[in-house]
C-alpha cells in the first residue's frame, strides 16, 4: 500500500498522546518538559504531512506546513530554554524538581 496522509496523521496522534501522558503523569519537572517536546514534535510531523499531501490549497503551494514547523521548532527551543532556566532556579530555592511540591497557588 502506498503512503497516505492517514498514516502520518495516526502517527502524529499516537505520539501526541504519548507525550501527553508523559506531561501529565510524571513528577520530575524535566520529564514533563520532555513530554511537551514529544508533543511538539508530533504536531510538527502532522503539519509537514499536510504540507506534503497537498490537502489544503493554496497553502500547499506556499509550504505553509513546513514554515509552520520551522516556527514551532523556533518557539519550542526558546520555551525549553526558559523553562529549564526556571527549573534550575526553583531547584536552587527548594532543592526539588518535583512538580507535586510546587503548589503555592493552592487553596
Amino acid at each position: 500500500m502506498g503512503l497516505t496522509l492517514n498514516h502520518f496523521l495516526v502517527l502524529g496522534a499516537l505520539l501526541f498522546c504519548i507525550g501527553l501522558y508523559g506531561a501529565l503523569a510524571k513528577r520530575n519537572a524535566i520529564a514533563v518538559l520532555m513530554g511537551i517536546e514529544i508533543m511538539l514534535n508530533a504536531v510538527n510531523i502532522t503539519m509537514v504531512g499536510f504540507s506534503f499531501f497537498n490537502q489544503v490549497r493554496p497553502y500547499s503551494t506556499f509550504l505553509t506546513g513546513q514554515i509552520f514547523a520551522i516556527f514551532i521548532i523556533t518557539v519550542a527551543a526558546a520555551e525549553a530554554a526558559v523553562a529549564l532556566a526556571m527549573i534550575i532556579a526553583i531547584y536552587r530555592r527548594r532543592s526539588t524538581v518535583d512538580v507535586g511540591e510546587i503548589d503555592m497557588m493552592k487553596w
Binding site: 498514516h7 513528577r27 510531523i45 504531512g49 506534503f52 499531501f53 509550504l63 527551543a77
Partner: protein, 180 residues
Amino acid sequence: MDLATLIFWIIAFVLVGSALLGVIQRNIVHSALALILFFAMASGIYLLLNAEFIAIVQILIYAGAVAVLILFALMLTRTSNIQVNSNPNGKLRWLALPICALVAAGIIFATSISPLVTTATSNLVPYGGKGVCAIPPNNVIYIGELLYSPTCYSYVLPFEIASVVLLVAIMGAIVIGRED
C-alpha cells in the same frame, strides 16, 4: 510494499518505541537519551516527506541544542538516587492513561471520518503573489524564498517576530537563571 512505505513503518515503530521509553523509564538520563533517538527518527520522517530543510533543522536544534540543554539541566538538578527514583510517576497516572487513550482515539476517529484525498503527489504549480514566481528547484531554496523574499509570497513578518521571541527568550532565561 514499496521502499518508502517500508522505511516509514520501521521509522514509525522506532519513533513510537523511543517515545514510550522516554516517558516510562525510571532513570531520567535514560529517558533523555531515548528522547534524542526520538528526535533523530522524527528527522527521518521529515526526509520521507521531502522536507529536507526541516530534517536538518530538527537534528541541529532538537537533537543538538535542546537535548543537550536538557542533559545540562539534569546535571544541575541532580537528585540523590538517579538510578531509581529520578523520574517517578505521579498520582495522576491512572487518570492520565484513559484520558490519553481517549484523546488519541478521538483524533484518529476524527481523521477517519474526514473526507481526505489520499494522493501522494507533490505537483506544485507556480504561485503568485506580488509577481509570478517560479517554483524553486529544491526545498532549501524554496523555504528560503518563502521566508525572505520581498517580491514573492513570503513569511517575512512572522520571521522577524520569531527573532524577537528568541531575543526575549534569551534575556528571560538569563534573568531567571541568575545566581543571586
